[in-house]
């Protein structure tokens, strides 16, 4: 085991997959000599060359559209979108093409590709370098949506994503790139399957669902209120789409209370689906309202520090929400 950062785990996953399968290649802005603006591809250009690590033009539609074509040809592209906020020019290619190819061709054509993008706020990035975009994709059958919260999962899930025959959206909590560290086996290869959520902390009073950076905070908040006698079960959703209903509902059967947390805008966010799932399938198990905690409904995270803080969900806000719900 070795303790590494989240971004290093992601780099390692790509390094191993480039070595493992010659059809794998990386395409994105500044992924080559620059090693990516977050250094997620550092060293890969030198190691694998310009044919495997391709600096694209400054055009996300190109990155994804060319990726789809290459995947149809039999390659396994890893497309990097520099910031999740810049994924919209590629929206048509993702939603109309990548997601629907397999179904529309009755299984004749598939698009094995990964689209990686750093997401999330709290890093002084303002409206256009802080966005959470997962909810736009957790509504699109044909896509898988993955958000890791720690290095072990990040590496294992990204390797699974590269090997998956379907298009996988892989969103990385950029604030955690260097902040979140964790152990990763350094002697054996492993993957983490796409699909199952993970009970990261067992508890009996309340189920707390989160992912990415917010899962990190959720664990801290659970720790915080544990001293106050509130026993929180914390679930790392990890694969957001398709939804792992079973893990979610079993937890509610045990705790009877649900709190869902994300940093994305509250209304129409991913939490709505989880809340709706619980309200329909676990209604008889519930003994309190299904509670959501999310970013406020303003267009995106503002730049100036005081306003950014106002926007961001954090450990304290989560702890408060836990207390409120637990005391219901």
């Amino acid at each position: 085991m070795a303790e590494i950062t989240l971004v290093e785990a992601i780099r390692q996953a790509m390094d191993e997959e480039l070595a493992h399968d010659e059809n794998v290649f990386i395409i994105g802005e500044d992924v080559g000599v620059r090693g990516g603006v977050f250094r997620a591809t550092v060293g890969l250009f030198d190691k694998y060359g310009g044919d495997r690590v391709i600096d694209s033009p400054l055009a996300e539609l190109t990155i994804v559209g060319v990726g789809v074509g290459a995947a149809l040809y039999g390659k396994r592209p890893i497309c990097e979108i520099q910031f999740a906020d810049f994924i919209y020019p590629a929206f048509n290619q993702i939603v109309s093409e990548a997601a629907k190819m397999y179904y529309r061709s009755n299984g004749e054509w598939s698009v094995p590709m990964v689209i990686r993008a750093p997401y999330g706020g709290g890093i002084g990035g303002g409206l256009y370098h802080s966005q959470s975009v997962e909810a736009f994709f957790t509504h699109v059958p044909g896509l898988k949506v993955v958000i890791p919260s720690n290095p072990y999962d990040a590496k294992g899930l990204l390797k699974s994503a590269v090997r998956d025959p379907n298009p996988v959206m892989f969103f990385e909590p950029k604030k955690g790139y260097r902040l979140i560290k964790g152990d990763v086996p350094d002697d054996e290869e492993y993957t983490v399957p796409i699909g199952p959520a993970k009970v990261a902390r067992k508890g009996s009073d309340l189920s707390l669902f989160a992912y990415g950076m917010m899962h990190h905070y959720a664990l801290k908040a659970a720790q915080m209120v544990a001293d106050e006698g509130i026993d929180v079960e914390v679930i790392d959703l990890r694969t957001l789409y398709p939804v792992d209903r079973e893990t979610i509902l079993s937890s509610i059967r045990k705790t009877s209370k649900a709190l869902i947390v994300h940093e994305d805008n509250l209304t129409g966010g991913y939490g709505a689906e989880i809340a709706a799932t619980i309200a329909e399938w676990s209604f008889m198990d519930l003994d309190a309202p299904v509670k959501r905690l999310g970013g406020p409904d303003v267009p995106a995270v503002p730049f100036s520090h005081p306003m950014q803080e106002w926007f961001m969900v954090n450990t304290d806000k989560i702890a408060d929400a836990i207390r409120e719900l637990a005391s219901f």
Binding site: L61, G65, V66, G69, Q93, Y103, S105, W109, K144, D164
Partner: protein, 326 residues
Amino acid sequence: MPLSKELKKEMFWMMLLSRRLDERAWVLHRQGKIAFHISGIGQEAAQVGAVYALNKGKDWLVPYYRDLAMMIAMGMTPTEFVMSLMGKAAEPTSGARQMPSHFSLRQANIVSHSAPVATQSPHASGIGLGIKLDGKDEVVLTTVGEGSTSQGEWYEAVNFAAIHTLPVVFIVENNQYAISVPQEKQMAVSNAADKACGLGLDGFQVDGTKVFEVYEAVERAVEKARNGGGATVIEAKMYRLTPHSSDDDDRSYRTREEVEEHKKRDPILLAREQLIEEGLMTEEEYQEWEEKAKAEVDRAVDEATKAPYPKPEDAAFPVYAEVKHG
């Protein structure tokens, strides 16, 4: 490579068969037997001319919805097409999930396309990239309407192929309208081919009503691509002789005189004349072919009519390809 007599005749046959099939689709629509048809009538020369420049089974095709004649020339059967018109389960493009004329044929390296125009163009560049990365001497040919070149998607696709010298031939089938909108509302250049100069690759215009001229132009571009010379834009100019689709009424935006004028340059007429002039085909032969085409189309309609519809619950799959473990 100059075309042999046999090939020329074969090309004409593909055009003719495709035309009669296309016309039958309009009839089926009028009879209420199908719900929708989008036609390639008037564009057969460009389409057949283009794909005969490909090495079938080796090269790749990324078509658009008017490319019925391309599909027929590449091996899709009339029965398969009529099944797609009727939404029958066995139609090979989508198992009746997509509207008719949203083509795909896996075994012929013909990639599935969708309805939003120009989304296929970057796929062609991506396939070209795959070919280059694998060091193969395959070529991709892709098509789009002239109106669809207004999409940034087309520009980005060509730009990428030009930067990376990819083996892609971008054909623009300029039929002078995008539904009702004429070319001058789509672009300020006189010809779609002129767009190439702003993207740093060769661009040519060819008379899209002349099948053998199209063949020659595309053949040069294909061989250039195959030999590492990179991408080319070819504009084949012709005229959409029918309304945009069976939902359209073109009388609101163009005169009957205009349409009639262009019917004089119907590519089927022109090719037939040329073959007869060059002594490659006799009038009798042509009449036989007409009969043969009619028979093939009759049979297609018959077979397709008998073919079963999909079961409702077939629609539940296949959303995801299965993950293989190990």
